[in-house]
Amino acid sequence: MTEAAYRLPGSGQSGVCTAGPADFLVLLKPRVMSLVVFTGFAGLLAAPGSLHPVLAVVAVLCIAIGSGAAGAINMWYDRDIDAIMTRTAARPIPQGRIAPGNALGFGVVLSVGSVMVMGLAVNYVAAGLLALAILFYVFIYTIWLKRRTPQNIVIGGAAGAFPPMIGWAAVTGDVGLGALTLFAVIFFWTPPHFWALALFRNGDYEKAGVPMLPVVAGPVETKKQIILYTVLLIPLALTPVWVGVAGWYYGVPAFVLSVAFLGFALAVWKDDSDRAAKRMFGFSILYLFAVFTFLIVDTAVLDAFKVTG
């Protein structure tokens, strides 16, 4: 008998969970988490007012854990299609390293824990928004929309747009116009980001029966929609300047980056191969990191002027 014959799937026949800590870490989708943490932190810094550094760390930690927990529940629900898609087949549940029930329990405990800690340590508005983001991602996006409509990531993208608003609410205790502008930037960035991915992973989504736009409407319509959203993103990326959340240290680079993003979208339109879509997907991640980095830099500059002025 080979060693493989003893490999129990997750908490298989013996009832013993065989997964290591690294497997549970993968359930939290660390790469998505890094983007969520960064935008949440930027929202926290951009908000008017101040928060004790310890409470700020707790707020960012809760956003990170809450986002990871939603990711774990998503992996529990999507375990059937994850096993089919090349991009996700190596995840711990389809690989049998974590039993589905364990992943669900892990996600639920972390979701409840992160919301409770946010409420008790920071404030109830931030906790409420965190709970709303988790519930939206799990019930609206994962369970309801993802397998039903090509608009899945348009509406579902709202879940990923919550972090800066949560960071903002952690400081102010409410949701201001400034927070909504940061929400809008991520909300309109999400569709072109995911559609670029879906263009070169089309076969994967088709095989799994996920109705992403390229699967349902084809690449030409997807490319049109990508251009539409990147055009809309140009004025939207400047709204934080118009409402006074940020100055031109943010505005100028955000404008340049948004125009470059549109340039990548136009390259996708012209290119019949996957190359431009892959490039655009890579740039979209850089775009969001860069835009929020400039927001942080701008906030620091504005604060410095306030101190010296």
């Binding site: 008998m1 969970c17 997964a19 290591g20 800590p21 928060l51 004790h52 409470l55 707790v58 340590a121």
Partner: protein, 52 residues
């Protein structure tokens, strides 16, 4: 005879691998619980101090 020995060796190797992973998971859990104790203590001190 030889098959049975290989079988036992595989089984032993599997069990020790499972124990190793369980051990590392237990240590990770201990670290998380310890960190939470410290975090709650610090948050309590900060909140008592009037922040937030």
């Amino acid at each position: 005879m030889s098959d049975k020995m290989t079988d036992n060796n595989d089984k032993r190797r599997y069990v020790s691998e499972v124990h190793r992973r369980q051990n590392s998971k237990n240590y990770a859990m201990l670290a998380v619980l310890g960190a939470l104790v410290v975090l709650f203590y610090v948050v309590a001190i900060v909140r008592i101090g009037g922040a937030g």
